[in-house]
Symmetry: C2
Subunit: 137 residues, 2 copies
């Protein structure tokens, strides 16, 4: 496998297919084994071990129906590390996600997923805002 | 400069000092020039050019008082790319941030900042949750 932006984006799509399909085995296959992993689901605390990350996905994927899609993915690759930033749609909720990958065993493997909701139709505001959307200036 | 986890964490701290100090010049100095950059402030849409990212920081830093601190930073380095995941405290708001860096001109330079609030004292829930905290099972 070429370890370029295209294969990174393909791996990122596999992640969203595993998510949408509720496919825990595929999800487990995507996450790195040799490199420490971290995962930040929307609003959750940071999960910092493969075990807690996999437990979280087991819980998420065991629910009914995952109306999940990914779009507008941008990829960055430097050697054996890569990042994808993309839009996630989960049901009617719009989120943005950062997914970071490293090469293990000749394949792109996830080491980090950080997803957070985007407030629609709001004027961007300062970082200080608790809800994320802007306070009036 | 050694391009290892220690120097990456030091650069990450410089980012938070620039933020806390309202120091736009220091902030501009931290962001990459040759590599496309992206920034996701809490709840905002993705900003995908150096110009829009810098405009956002100009706006954020021009406000009064930035009670910002960073803690529990973890670093990952693979060659010329690195990632830091850390806790941010902005006023009384707890956030988690993913910051991604590449080497340009022998220095770590930011290519991505993604910050999002953590819901305190909430039971982790499914990714589908609009507010990020869990729906009851």
């Amino acid at each position: 496998m070429e370890l370029d932006e295209q294969t990174l984006l393909a791996t990122n799509e596999r992640f969203y297919r595993a998510f949408a399909g509720g496919d825990l085995a595929a999800m487990e296959d995507l996450w790195a084994h040799q490199t420490p992993v971290v995962c930040i689901h929307p609003g959750w605390s940071r999960l910092s071990s493969r075990e807690t990350v996999m437990t979280s996905w087991r819980r998420i994927l065991s629910g009914e129906g995952h109306d999940v899609s990914c779009g507008d993915a941008q990829a960055w690759v430097r050697g054996t590390m890569g990042m994808v930033v993309c839009r996630e749609q989960v049901g009617r909720i719009d989120l943005l996600a950062t997914n970071v990958f490293v090469v293990e065993g000749g394949r792109w493997m996830l080491i980090h997923h950080h997803a957070a909701p985007v407030m629609p139709d709001e004027e961007p505001g300062p970082e200080e805002s608790s809800s994320g959307h802007g306070l009036p200036n």
